[in-house]
């Protein structure tokens, strides 16, 4: 589009210039006008069936749909003229005649485009009175996470088009015709495509529902926080929806450079652990064989003592789910040692691509920050690092779950500092335990597989005394007089950007909510 010549047009009195070929509905967004629509979705092929986006285009006798009309030089578009409003009011009335109006028990209420537009432009009373029956079809389990409530369906066909043109597995259809039509699925098939859950987000009304989210919360009670999916190294942009400090849903957040408007079903389910109840809520320090809760000051003093009092070899066992900031700072804490830094990541053999979107898949590496860890000099030779534990003076564990690493193995090391969200049995061998926030409870960044650095934001508060790892490590560095402390994740990132050439020039402000790809050509990692 960038090479296309521009055309100038006027939408609701606002002049705009858009590349030739731009649809009026998109051009209107530039003019600050949201043209009501249902079937249109930027991520799907145009259908032009709901007729909701009818607008008046001067010199054209009939109203036109903004979703299928290209902007043209000199075009004058009236969205709010009486004629256009009446037409849309007509569409809304037609859409409601068979609608059950069951908003009080509908999950979509509060984020329903039918509700919104009826409120905005619809009639206050129906004329579909008094005794006509409404169309009725029973609720159907489409399989996967999806429930179909046909009575609320407005047949916009977004779901059908998604499955046909984006997932390229057409297992949904429009069945029958006229007002008997409904969304059908072949009885022998389920909506179990790895990306099928997107149909729930795409549905503008409460017709396709997530079984996982069913009756969990009202939309208006939810707070939305931008985040990055932790399910794999793709780094899909998401929103974490929380209700009173509980994450109840993860939905995709549009980013045309990463995931367009979509995320996979695996990613959608990566939130339950964010609400785990068995968290470490206070710093712990070993007294004999017992770990005892202490103040942060006490814990930092003890940890600093450990780091200062030894020398030689050291190891960091980090999780590739840790923030880039934490991964960087953890190595800095043990900067004067002969350091082995390793992580491990679950790898599955098959990727699950979303065919219709280039470079989008559920990746085989099932962690969000493998690239960040690698860039910072962590290796995937986790087993080698574990074997070398016995010769290490200090071991710092950064939220690795320590599966397969016994307490005895850890005890063979000199001293163990454990930063974690939960306390696995093996971690009880640690000398100092520092409770950290999980991804939903802190600000931070991940670097996705394409070296895009992306920020995620704090969505809820952490339990007890748990703090973000960047804060914990910053305080520890300050105690050691090596750097820090940091008042915010942004400060921690700024320090990393100053110290680490690959991140040079980047800042939270620059990254914004869409992220930036690391400049190429600079040496990767500290050790390089």
């Amino acid at each position: 589009m960038a090479d296309q010549p521009l055309v100038r047009l006027t939408i609701e009195g606002v002049p705009v210039s858009v590349p030739q070929g731009t649809l009026v509905i998109e051009a209107a967004k530039q003019a600050g006008v949201m043209i009501p629509h249902y079937c249109y979705h930027s991520g799907l092929p145009v259908a032009g069936v709901c007729r909701m986006c009818l607008v008046e285009i001067e010199t054209t006798p009939k109203l036109q749909i903004a979703c299928a009309t290209q902007a043209a030089e000199g075009m004058v578009v009236n969205v709010l003229s009486a004629q256009a409003r009446e037409a849309r009011q007509g569409v809304l009335e037609f859409l409601l005649i068979n609608h059950p109006l069951d908003c009080p028990i509908c999950d979509q209420a509060g984020e329903c485009e039918l509700q919104d537009y009826v409120f905005q432009e619809g009639r206050s009373r129906t004329r579909y009175t008094p005794t006509y029956a409404k169309r009725f079809n029973p609720v159907e389990d489409f399989g996967g996470d999806v429930l179909y409530v046909p009575n609320r369906c407005i047949l916009c066909t977004r779901c059908v088009r998604f499955m046909e043109h984006v997932a390229e597995e057409p297992i949904l259809n429009v069945s029958e015709r006229g007002d008997r039509a409904y969304i059908g699925i072949h009885p022998d098939r389920h909506l179990d495509h790895p990306w099928a859950g997107n149909v729930v987000d795409l549905c503008p009304v409460g017709s396709l529902l997530s079984k996982d989210f069913l009756h969990k919360a009202r939309a208006w009670e939810l707070d939305k926080t931008p985040g990055v999916c932790t399910g794999c190294s793709q780094g899909c942009n998401v929103n974490l929806d929380t209700r009173t400090d509980v994450v109840v849903r993860v939905r995709p957040r549009a980013n045309l450079d990463v995931n367009q408007y979509f995320m996979c079903d695996h990613g959608r389910m990566q939130y339950r652990w964010m609400n785990r109840g068995d968290r470490i809520e206070a710093p712990l320090v070993a007294h004999g064989h017992e770990l005892a809760a202490v103040s942060w000051d006490h814990a930092f003093a003890r940890a600093a003592e450990i780091v200062r009092g030894t020398a030689g070899r050291a190891a960091v066992l980090a999780s590739p789910r840790a923030s880039t900031e934490a991964l960087f700072l953890a190595k800095r804490v043990l900067g004067r040692f002969d350091l082995t830094a390793a992580f491990r990541v679950q790898r599955v053999s098959e990727e699950a691509p979303l065919i219709g979107v280039p470079n989008l898949a559920l990746r085989s590496e099932r962690a969000p920050n493998v690239t960040g860890a690698t860039l910072l000099g962590y290796t995937e030779q986790f087993e080698v690092a574990v074997k070398a534990l016995s010769g290490s003076a200090v071991v710092l564990v950064l939220d690795d779950p320590l599966e397969g690493v016994s307490a005895d193995l850890l005890r063979a090391a000199g001293q163990v500092i454990y930063l974690g969200t939960v306390l696995p049995d093996a971690a009880r061998a640690a000398h100092v335990v520092l409770p950290i926030a999980n991804v939903a409870e802190e600000d931070g960044t991940f670097v996705n597989r394409d070296q895009r650095v992306q920020r995620y934001f704090q969505a809820k508060v952490g339990p007890g005394m748990a703090r973000p790892a960047w804060w914990v490590l910053g305080e520890l560095l300050a105690e050691l007089k090596l750097g820090g402390p940091f008042g915010s994740a942004a400060e921690a990132f700024a320090w990393m950007a100053a110290e680490e050439p690959r991140f040079g020039g980047l800042s939270y402000q620059l990254l914004g909510t869409r992220g930036m790809v690391l400049p190429a050509g600079r040496p990767a990692g500290v050790g390089a």
């Binding site: 046909e164 597995e169 057409p170 297992i171 949904l172 259809n173 429009v174 069945s175 029958e176 015709r177 059908g184 699925i185 072949h186 009885p187 022998d188 098939r189």
Partner: protein, 163 residues
């Protein structure tokens, strides 16, 4: 509606017949309507199994095929009587007494209501929208036979030919 055992439709000559159709179109999908007609001619109706078979043969999905089948009213999604009777009752024929013809068919076939199959399994009677023979009221289709100028009085004799 599931059959207990399913015999594929597209074997032998029918497979050949379908293969001969394919070069008529630049896409395999375009052979869908003809393929469905072949199924209906062979089986009298189009079951979910048959839709799956057609999908397989043409490289489509069963759901897609079902979407198409349900669009076109001449494809039967359920078994129908041996003789499928369609009576045109749209306005031009209606003006000429088509509803009387429908009543006569319902009465003389033993079908209690439209769309139901008679107890002996012989007949299913439906009203159909415009058969396109408005100058010959009332046109009726019985199976593939197209019969013009049917009157209520003529129904019993007509039915004698369809036993």
């Amino acid at each position: 509606m599931h059959e207990t055992t399913y015999e594929p439709v597209f074997t032998g000559d029918r497979k050949k017949q379908l293969d001969q159709l394919l070069p008529r179109f630049p896409t395999k999908r375009a052979a869908l309507l003809p393929a469905l007609w072949m199924v209906q001619q062979a089986r009298g109706w189009i079951s979910d199994h048959a839709m799956a078979e057609v999908a397989e043969v043409l490289g489509l999905t069963p759901a897609y095929v079902k979407g198409v089948v349900t669009f076109y009213t001449m494809y039967h999604q359920h078994p129908v009587g041996k003789h499928f009777v369609q009576v045109c009752t749209t306005t031009p024929c209606n003006l000429c007494g088509a509803e009387g013809v429908v009543k006569a068919f319902l009465e003389h076939t033993g079908c209690k209501e439209l769309g139901a199959t008679s107890p002996d399994g012989k007949y299913t009677v439906i009203e159909v929208e415009c058969l396109g023979a408005c100058g010959f009221p009332t046109p009726v289709m019985i199976g593939d036979d197209f019969i013009e100028n049917v009157t209520p009085e003529g129904v019993p004799e007509l039915l004698r030919k369809y036993q």
